[in-house]
């Protein structure tokens, strides 16, 4: 069944057993903390992502939200992939995930870079669901910018 390419076991597993869920305060009080709340206006999915960083390393990427299996599993994978990473490296992963999701199924993901994120390859073939997968990653980008790392916060939404 083609549906299995969308709902891969890894995605369903992250959805049913999310990693690192819940918004957390920074362990190190010296860390800068940035937070962003994004919604998908067509379906009402919501996510809040919080980034705690000293500017070089992302000490924590925490999140809370509600939504479909794709958006929630994506947030779990985001947390797993980016927590503890160097900021530069984290944005390389971010870019690789965006490239995968905008690839309409034509991009072969690199498991060394994307880890469980490779499971979203099938999602890229469903244009209506790409936004679900990207929701936490877009919120992450804004949260990181607010914490002073990554891209300039030109497109930061409330």
């Amino acid at each position: 069944m083609q549906l299995e390419s969308l709902y891969q076991e890894i995605i369903l597993d992250h959805y049913k057993h999310p990693h690192g869920r819940g918004l957390r305060d920074a362990e190190d009080p010296a860390d800068r903390v940035g937070e962003a709340h994004h919604v998908n206006p067509t379906c009402g999915d919501e996510i809040t992502v919080r980034v705690a960083t000293d500017g070089a390393t992302l000490h924590d990427v925490s999140y809370d939200g509600m939504g479909c299996s794709i958006s929630q599993a994506s947030a779990s994978v985001l947390h797993e992939l980016l927590t503890g990473r160097g900021a530069t490296e984290a944005f390389e992963v971010h870019e690789a995930f965006l490239a995968l999701m905008s690839g309409r199924g034509q991009v072969t993901p690199d498991e060394d870079v994307l880890g469980d994120g490779v499971a979203f390859e099938g999602v890229a073939r469903y244009p209506a669901r790409v936004k679900c997968a990207l929701l936490p990653w877009m919120a992450f980008k804004d949260a990181a910018a607010r914490a002073g790392v990554g891209a300039s916060p030109t497109e930061v939404k409330a």
Binding site: L6, T42, G44, E46, G67, C68
Partner: protein, 434 residues
């Protein structure tokens, strides 16, 4: 089992008008197609309906044989196009029993129709000599309900912002009915307009309007009914409804997109200032100022959706040929069947009336904690097309504490087999997610 005989002389069960659904389905070319390797099961007619060949043919025929602009040409094609366009207006007027054909204003859709009324109020509010019923200011009130489509919320929020008037609303009960308990307080001498949905696009509820209408008349306010979901599915008579305005849209009633209707009582339309300015809506234009045409032309600036209007006329003919009473009864039977069938699905919760009374064939539900997007995706893989999301009625979702719902909606071509396919699909959803 006991059989209850209906006494002779009373309307008998078999007196209800019926039609052959298989024959009707043969009129809709799209129903033959497959989706993801399965026969199409289209349960999204509240979103947009399909179009029968009779409508598609008229649309093509208009462009192929009679194409010209309307109301401004003396040539033969222009005359044919104008006659077809005005003929469609007459058909629509008859369909909703409008006392005058000039009370039917063609618009782009229901949204535009509501906005025309709201902006006419707005424009009237700027003129001291305008009809006082149309003038709004601080202290005046607009009343809507919590079960409205966004198209019957946002235009009134904007009108309230522009005029300083206050927006108030009827709440919704736990059963998905309009809560009329606060009627006399909500609709009072400060109320200028009450704008309500006739049939909810998310809950399926058909609102009984007579108490509200009586109260609206008592306080001298005006009543607009959003009939986008009712005109396609049941006989509608504007005289019987005793509304001041109704709006509906062509694409939900077997017609094309891009054509909708504002019906208004003539003396009100005549009192309303124009909203869009341009060609066709004027009486005379000088560089110093203009005077305006009588309704409906006053509200139809520019070249209208001509072919779409003509095709809407064909859709009205098609529906009338089958009979709106028969369509209403068919959908009532489907709704009763679907409510029973969905009741057998473990963990399924229906939002809106759970009995097939005072409701139409639009059913929203949640399946356990499974997100509606996931429900819709699995159903789509089986060819079953439902709508998922907030259905442009976010306040209803908030009222019932969910971000979104899954919605199945029926029409004259829907069969009980399609409802069975939905229920079977929901089992598949449960296998993946529960």
């Amino acid at each position: 089992m006991t059989t209850i005989a209906i006494p002779p002389g009373m309307p008998q069960y078999d007196d209800v008008p019926r039609y052959d659904v298989t024959a009707v389905r043969a009129d809709f070319p799209i129903l033959d197609r497959e989706v993801n390797g399965h026969p199409l099961v289209y349960l999204d007619s509240a979103n947009t309906s399909h179009k029968p060949r009779q409508v598609l043919d008229v649309l093509a025929e208009h462009y192929a044989r009679h194409n010209a602009n309307v109301s401004r040409s003396v040539h033969t094609l222009g005359t044919e196009a104008t006659e077809a366009y005005e003929g469609a207006r007459a058909k629509v007027a008859t369909f909703v029993n409008a006392p005058s054909v000039d009370e039917v204003v063609f618009t782009k859709n229901s949204t535009e129709a509501i906005n025309i009324v709201a902006y006419a109020f707005s424009n009237a509010s700027l003129r001291a000599d305008a009809d006082p019923r149309l003038r709004l200011g601080p202290g005046d009130e607009i009343v809507i309900s919590e079960m409205e489509h966004h198209s019957n919320i946002v235009p009134w929020q904007l009108l309230a912002e522009r005029t300083g008037a206050t927006l108030r609303w009827f709440p919704v009960t736990d059963n998905g009915r309009l809560d009329e308990s606060g009627l006399t307080d909500l609709v009072n001498e400060r109320t200028k307009i009450v704008s309500l949905v006739h049939m909810s696009n998310i809950l399926g509820t058909v609102n009984a309007t007579s108490r509200i209408t009586a109260r609206v008349r008592e306080v001298g306010a005006l009543l607009l009914l959003d009939c986008s979901q009712s005109v396609p599915h049941m006989p509608i008579d504007v005289v019987d409804l005793d509304a001041d305005f109704i709006v509906f849209t062509g694409h939900k009633m077997c017609g094309p997109t891009g054509i909708g209707v504002l019906w208004g009582r003539m003396e009100l339309l005549a009192a309303m200032p124009p909203v869009f300015g341009g060609g066709s809506m004027i009486e005379t234009v000088t560089m110093g100022g203009s005077t305006y045409a009588a309704p409906p032309a006053r509200f139809e600036a520019g070249t209208p959706p001509i072919a779409e209007a003509v095709a809407l006329g064909a859709a009205v003919d098609y529906l009338s040929g089958i009979g709106m009473r028969a369509i209403q009864w068919h959908e009532k039977q489907l709704t009763a069947y679907a409510l029973d069938a969905l009741g057998t699905v473990p963990g399924l919760r229906i939002f809106g009336p759970e009995v097939p009374v005072g409701r139409g064939g639009t059913i929203s539900f949640a399946l356990g904690d499974v997100h509606p997007h996931d429900v819709g995706q699995v159903l789509d893989s089986l060819g079953v097309q439902v709508r998922v999301g907030h259905h442009c009625a976010r306040p209803v979702c908030t009222r019932f504490g969910v971000p979104a719902t899954t919605r199945a909606s029926f029409y004259l071509y829907t069969t009980t087999e399609e409802i069975d396919a939905l229920v079977a699909g929901l089992e598949q959803v449960r296998k993946v997610f529960c």
